[in-house]
Amino acid sequence: MAEANEILQLGIEAARDGNREEARNLFTLLTKQDPQNIQAWLWLAGVSDNPKLRRDALERAIAIDPNNEMALRGLRALGADRPSIVDRGRNAIRERTGSLLGRPSAANQRPSTPVQPAARPSRPAPVQTQQSTSSVMGEDELTAEFDAFAEEYDDEPRGPTPLMWGVLGALALLLVVFLASQFFGNGTATMLPANLFGATSADTTPTADPAMTATALATMTPAGTPTATPPPVMLLNRDATLTQDGWEYGLYPDPNVINGPISLAGIPPTGTYVIVLVTVANNTGTSQPLPANFLTLLDDQGRRYDVNVERSMKVYDNAPGSASDLGISNNVEPNGVKTSIVLIYDVNLDATNLRMYGGSNLSQGWVITDKVQ
């Protein structure tokens, strides 16, 4: 499972970088490995250039979760007629009913088919009812419930919506949900926003594509989840740079994060070492080192990590000019030239969603890693 998450993230990064073919291969691999991986299907739909493949992927997602808003929306945007969506849901319900009544399900007969008992996590009240009375609920009742859902769907105003409008509508919804979660502190800042926003300090226009949209809803933390710290207003793309106090700063192009059981001159970490390679440009007019506490990490648990200067210098001194242009204690010339610096942080093992911020600017930062082990 951990591997699958790694590959999902790898695919997301490939999609974000515009490498759709690699992303398609990675998401396809994931769906081969686990046909129930709904996120992989949604992302696969997002990076598919072929409308038929996109539709197929969305229908597989619907088969797994008949109420998946993103898949329903995507199918609608593709102009899918209501019966085809409804039939998918009906089939999923029949599968569920069959298993409840002890009948062999089609999924059991055909292991490669991803249809499984329908789970309906997105409708809290009905789900509770279904689960608590599942042993006495018959196929007709479940089908009726699905029909009620279909009627709700019918009541929604729909016109001849072109694909573009559908995508833009989904984007707008996504932005509203995301911004609301940020401002009201109801959602945790996962690595997702970094994928959503290809923003730089000069350009904060979201650059999401349908794939991003699909996964955004698929991975969004449920509203109301408390966070230890208020999430940042915006998480930046890895190639974005910011400027503060005369310092321009950003992440070094990939790979810029290494974590794990690294031995630094035999000094063990308290948690684990996280190595971050950054670029800075000194526009302060004075030759000076980057202030040691300028670039800090924060995790979802609300903990702040400052650079471990001694160990950062050990890494740099081990091969000066190799790991990075300069060490954290070296003077950076005030010539505005981007210079790489290797930074070592000692991070708690349970840290999640590690983010880096510069100076006092906690409103913009970068996701460093979603977890450190």
Partner: protein, 71 residues
Amino acid sequence: MSDAEAQVLLKTVNRLYREGDHKRARALLEVLSDVYPDNPKVWSALATVAHDNDEMTHFLAKAAAAHRLSD
């Protein structure tokens, strides 16, 4: 996905490894070995990122077996 596409993903593994992202290179190889257990190249590649000798021996044995199957 065909074995040819597995070959494409092996190039991704190579890129990750060259970039120093050994963790994800290995993760991708492990998923590839799940989906393509009969592909000797996947097992050979896994042997190159093995954590220890026992693991390397295991992966090489898998590669040899897969190679025999493909003959």
